[in-house]
């Protein structure tokens, strides 16, 4: 098992029968992760992004982020306070405004919350499906395995962006309705995007988990569990699943980055979350019609997306090395 193969010297069982607590898999992983310089840098960058979208929300209200202004359309970044047509004086548009005169800075704050939310929720869905399909397929084998794996191969043959674009009209039909989430009125399409990204990105993981299960189920500890009369579900969830945790964690981490990029790509093409709810993706969609004008529309969200995905990739790499029992760094 993973924790038995790492640093065996410190894994000695003490005379009173208790194992040294300091060497649980979690602690070893954290120690190794913190030694990975890029991963720590990723963690710091990601903390700044999270700080930006959370503290920013204390300064700007969401209604301010959605407020349109006819006199301020596509105006460049400036430090001069804005007088709106209703006479109110607003904060300067530090990062400029979009085609409806909305403040880009506040939209990247609220958009960031939604983009991160989409990334995390979509991955939760895809990890759940991918793990279950992989476990079932690998453990039971036979006809179930053949059917599930042929289906996975068929879905993998269709490029994922094309799949998502073809499927999105199904879920984005009533784009005007809203849902209430965390005290915010959000477009129902947030949910739709989470679902379509989630249900189409588990394919790779299911194959990884399946191949791990195939080798794990032949090992002695599984035979032993079966001999003492453990049920299939007990063997799968308490004996096999914990040994598959490393690739699942890594896939989940990198998956958040992929889901965010997918959301922005869909948003950029105009197939993502519907306005007024902001996401990094649909803030960027303003740049699609004006490729060579108004660069401030895409620069701030673009930088935020790049930083987020970059840091998530670093963290994913760090976790992969930290969870790999063979690497002795």
């Amino acid at each position: 098992m993973a924790n038995a193969t790492t640093e065996p010297a410190s894994n000695v069982i003490k005379l009173d029968g208790r194992r040294d607590k300091a060497d649980s898999l979690l602690r070893i992983t954290i120690r190794r992760f913190l030694r990975h310089r890029m991963a720590v840098a990723g963690l710091i960058i990601l903390s700044f992004v999270i700080l930006y979208v959370s503290v920013g929300a204390l300064i700007y209200s969401e209604s301010y982020a959605n407020k349109t202004s006819l006199t301020e359309k596509n105006s460049p970044p400036s430090f001069a306070p804005v007088t709106r047509e209703d006479g109110s004086i607003n904060l300067p548009n530090y990062l400029g405004t979009d085609r409806l005169g909305r403040d880009i800075l506040s939209r990247t704050i609220y958009g960031g919350q939604i983009s991160l939310l989409i990334g995390i929720s979509a991955v939760t869905i895809s990890i759940t499906i991918g793990t279950i399909v992989g476990l079932v397929s690998g453990y039971f084998g036979g006809l179930i395995d053949a059917i599930l794996m042929r289906f996975v191969e068929a879905m993998l043959a269709i490029p994922s962006l094309i799949l998502l674009i073809v499927i999105q009209p199904v879920l984005i039909k009533n784009s005007t309705s809203t849902i209430n989430l965390f005290g915010r009125q959000l477009s129902i399409t947030v949910l739709a995007i989470v679902v379509i990204i989630g249900i189409f990105s588990w394919l790779g993981l299911s194959r990884i988990v399946r191949s791990m299960v195939l080798s794990l189920k032949e090992q002695e500890f599984v035979t032993a569990a079966r001999m003492v009369g453990a049920s299939n579900s007990r063997i799968i969830f308490t004996h096999i699943l914990p040994n598959c945790i490393a690739p699942i964690v890594v896939t989940a981490t990198l998956g958040v980055g992929n889901a965010i990029v997918t959301e922005t790509a869909l948003g950029f093409l105009g197939f993502g979350v519907q306005e007024p709810t902001a996401t990094w993706g649909n803030v960027l969609s303003g740049a699609r019609q004006f490729v060579d004008e108004y660069p401030w529309i895409w620069m701030a969200p673009g930088l935020l997306i790049t930083l987020t995905v970059l840091s998530i990739n670093f963290i994913g790499d760090g976790l992969r090395d930290a969870l790999d029992p063979r690497s002795q760094r």
Binding site: A154, L161, V166, V170, P295
Partner: protein, 351 residues
């Protein structure tokens, strides 16, 4: 070997059946493409019926699937609305090369593809050649100079590029090489015409179609597409090269006193290029579909752009043809990759 090939070919058949069913279901999930006519007061009930009948949309879904596969010229369609068939169908089905009539382009899907495939291939093949040249040279250099400043820069830049969505790179390149260049030359009193164009394949003002003009239009889309692929592929080539360089026969070659150059290119790269063949084979199908996002940004009149235009309002015949073409190409080239690899590396066959 023959047994392996036959086995592998047979495996693709159920796969293709599932792919077609999935694609068909998905394309129709978007609803009736003429649904918007329900709000149009000029369209009567009869008009809508005829339009749906013409595109075969009044049939049940399984019936439509059969029509799509093998056509409907063997049965009668009801075009005078008396409840009985009177006119033979005109569809031939995909097995006879008929992909149906595109609704948004108002011509056969095959015609739309024939118009656009060359444009897409110009873009994608150029892009891919550039990618392979740069990825191979950067990957090899980074591997033989592992942990040097060169390796570190290549690694760092690839990480950043890899984290960027493709449209962001495109917008950035447009900003630098078209917009800033234009502004700079205007300020200096130069001719802004030397800056790179960002829209389409040809200069719309000139009637003649010159190769030079096309090449200028190619630079920005090719650069944005290759940037990400180079980042990914060079990392891959670097790691396979490193694996080979650290193997025993390279040490043997070195101890025999062979030159470093001979070792790198003859002994190491030859073996490191084996996985590269698989990668290339797996990439080819994605060249056919074009680049959905990049073609949109640069208004490149290719397959990807046609695909985007056929999403809203929905154009199921075009969507289906596009998706099925890509999927079949993926399955086919996976087969090619497997067979080529097992032929080049006999160890694979016995696993």
């Amino acid at each position: 070997m023959t047994k392996y090939v036959v086995q592998r070919v047979l495996q693709t058949i159920p796969l293709l059946i599932i792919v077609t069913i999935v694609v068909f279901t998905l394309s129709f999930a978007g609803g009736n493409p003429f649904a918007y006519l329900a709000q149009d007061p000029r369209a009567t009930e009869a008009d809508r019926f005829l339009l749906n009948e013409k595109y075969g949309l009044n049939d049940s879904i399984p019936q439509q699937f059969v029509t799509w596969l093998i056509g409907d010229d063997w049965r009668m369609r009801d075009l005078n609305m008396d409840g009985e068939g009177d006119t033979p169908g005109e569809r031939l089905g995909i097995f006879r090369g008929d992909f149906g009539q595109s609704i948004s382009f108002r011509k056969p899907v095959a015609r739309v593809f024939a118009d656009r495939m060359p444009n897409t291939l110009i873009l994608m093949v150029t892009q891919y050649v550039v990618t392979i040249i740069f990825a191979v040279s950067l990957g090899i250099l980074a591997a033989i100079k592992q942990y040097s400043w060169f390796d570190n820069i290549v690694t760092g830049v690839s990480f950043v590029l890899y984290a960027m969505p493709v449209f962001l790179i495109a917008l950035l390149l447009v900003q630098i090489f078209a917009v800033q260049c234009r502004d700079l030359l205007k300020a200096l009193g130069g001719d802004p015409g030397v800056c790179l164009p960002v829209q389409g394949m040809w200069n719309v003002r000139s009637q003649s179609r010159e190769l030079g003009d096309l090449l200028r239009h190619l630079i920005l889309p090719v650069a944005s597409l290759s940037a990400i692929s180079i980042a990914g592929h060079s990392r891959y080539i670097r790691s396979t090269m490193l694996e080979v360089i650290n193997s025993d026969y390279i040490r043997t070659a070195r101890s025999k006193g062979l030159s470093e150059r001979r070792i790198t290119f003859l002994h190491a790269f030859k073996n490191a290029s084996l996985p590269l063949i698989t990668i290339v084979a797996l990439d080819i199908p994605f060249l056919l579909g074009g680049a959905v996002i990049t073609e949109t940004v640069f208004s490149w009149p290719g397959m990807g752009q046609a695909f985007i235009q056929s999403v809203q309002p929905a154009d199921p015949p075009l969507l289906m043809a596009f998706t099925v073409m890509t999927a079949v190409a993926v399955v086919f080239f996976q087969l090619v990759a497997d067979i080529a690899y097992s032929w080049l590396d006999p160890r694979i066959r016995y696993n």
